[in-house]
Symmetry: C2
Subunit: 316 residues, 2 copies
């Protein structure tokens, strides 16, 4: 089968790491950048990884999708808070056979894109990774690193299988989910307690799990997400919460993505991680009480963040 | 009827204001002080009040209850976190006819004292006031100021009626509650949302009520307290929550006592305001979910506060 041409839409920690791995393994990868465009065009990408550092001296870097070639696979690694830009960004880089893979946290991601852009082949992905941008063109990969991808409205997942093989060949553990919605709910089991609480309590995962009160609260919220998923027709057992808690015990002290977003004055993904899951659960007749409370606390913090925007440089 | 001799146990914002009013009106008032003892003995008390400032140049100040004369009425204005000291502090100042009035927030206050010190005549009080200590012997009274007192195990409330008259004569609106437990629950309707949220979200009452998310959250928590009270046999209507919200709209921007305690590195009254009400409700078959979640967040913050004790001077 012919090689796939990859486009990375959003070259931050996630896009830089996964796109960087693919490019380093010899795949044809084109990176869309924003503020780092000039720097990366001149200096390439540097990835410091727990699995070994590497550099890409020559990077196909772009400032706008209108400059990019058509791609077979688009890895959307933007924050969900930027998804409203996709109807303007994607058309120049997609052809009728392209697949857009939304590598983002939260729920209803593909549904929303499908609503905004009918006729698109859409898939989704979940990254189990601790990675971030340390400086211009400088990515750090701190922990974990696997990827789960799954189709949303694809007629065949043949192309996803090739994507999966390409990632495996690039040293990224990748698997295909038969049920993308279930995978999204599963990841929420972790994201819901740890993202929000790290912001509200100004802390990191290790502190949350080592304090008995917040450990119990995290567990209760995990169980609430599992019960919500069950109400939404996604089978999931309570044991997952306990396994994820153990996994977190073994993780390096970690600031979840929402905490980093807050600390760096970027918008938080409250809609995708809190509002939409709570709405879906409510539609299925289940009230996510703890999640709704955490969401309201986050909305308060978000409002204060926006109010301080002028003086601190909030990045919308 | 003979004049009552008053003892103020704990001369902070509350004890300084209410005791100060009584003394200024000519009552015989004896103040127990801690760190401010020397200063107040030399310089007296200064009270800056929204209703007019006043000074007490001569104050009967004491460093220990063993130095105090026996008193007919003990106004306990300590933080609940210091109540374990009362069995050692009270005996020298009480006689068989003395009444101890616990002017504190929270639930189970009198019950706990009765358990620790049987044979004591116990009453309780609730202060609806914004007051604090500005400096040594310097009290500020910012808003409101009324007092509700009620008997716990008294054979007659005759002495409470005299106390009430004395307060009225001193310019303090005072009334007697027929049901102290109900009065305590009523005050919790306000204290539960505003104390904890101001700490967790590092904010003040005006910000909480003006943001739509936290306003709704505060209302939900108020209703949760009302439902808990109902389950505990205390009749209370939901309308109280809406009236208290309106009252808060009209208040000056205000840092509740728990926020001040946190800011000044003093222990927070989590037990009295959160843990005990949740326990009482649970015993009555009602789960206070939002309150329990806020409690856990506060316990996390409390643990961090204690951990930082050595460097910042946490006052146990």
């Amino acid at each position: 089968m012919a090689n796939l041409r990859y486009g990375v839409i959003g070259t931050g920690g996630l896009g830089g790491y996964y796109g960087g791995r693919l490019a380093y393994s010899g795949q044809d990868v084109h990176f869309l950048l924003n503020s780092d465009y000039e720097y990366v065009r001149m200096n390439g990408l540097r990835i410091d990884s727990v699995n070994g550092d590497f550099r890409l001296d020559q990077v196909s870097a772009y400032q706008a999708t209108t400059d990019m070639p058509g791609c077979d696979v688009l890895l959307v690694c933007l924050k969900t808070t930027h998804n409203h830009l996709l109807p303007a960004m994607l058309p120049p880089v997609v052809h009728p056979g392209s697949v857009v893979i939304m590598i983002q946290n939260g729920l209803g991601i593909e549904e929303e894109l499908d609503h905004r852009m009918p006729h698109l082949n859409i898939a989704g992905g979940l990254a189990f990774i601790g990675a971030g941008k340390k400086g211009p063109g400088h990515i750090t990969h701190l922990d974990l690193g696997s990827l789960v991808i799954g189709g949303y409205n694809l007629k065949t997942i043949k192309i996803l299988q090739q994507v999966c093989d390409d990632f495996q060949g690039a040293g990224v553990p990748c698997s295909i989910s038969e049920n993308l919605d279930a995978s999204r709910w599963q990841k929420l089991v972790w994201n819901v307690p740890f993202n929000g609480m790290s912001v509200v309590l100004n802390t990191t995962t290790d502190q949350i799990v080592s304090n008995p009160s917040t450990r119990q609260l995290a567990l209760e919220m995990m169980l609430e997400v599992i019960h919500a998923a069950n109400h939404c027709g996604v089978p999931m057992k309570e044991g997952l919460a306990f396994r994820m808690m153990e996994m977190t015990d073994g993780m390096v002290p970690y600031a979840p993505s929402m905490k980093l977003d807050y600390d760096f004055n970027r918008p938080m993904e409250i809609d995708a991680i809190y509002t939409r899951p709570a709405q879906k659960a409510a539609q299925a007749g289940f009230e996510m009480k703890a999640v709704a409370m955490l969401e309201k606390q986050l909305r308060f913090i978000e409002a204060r963040q926006k109010l301080n925007a002028k003086t601190t440089g909030f990045k919308e």
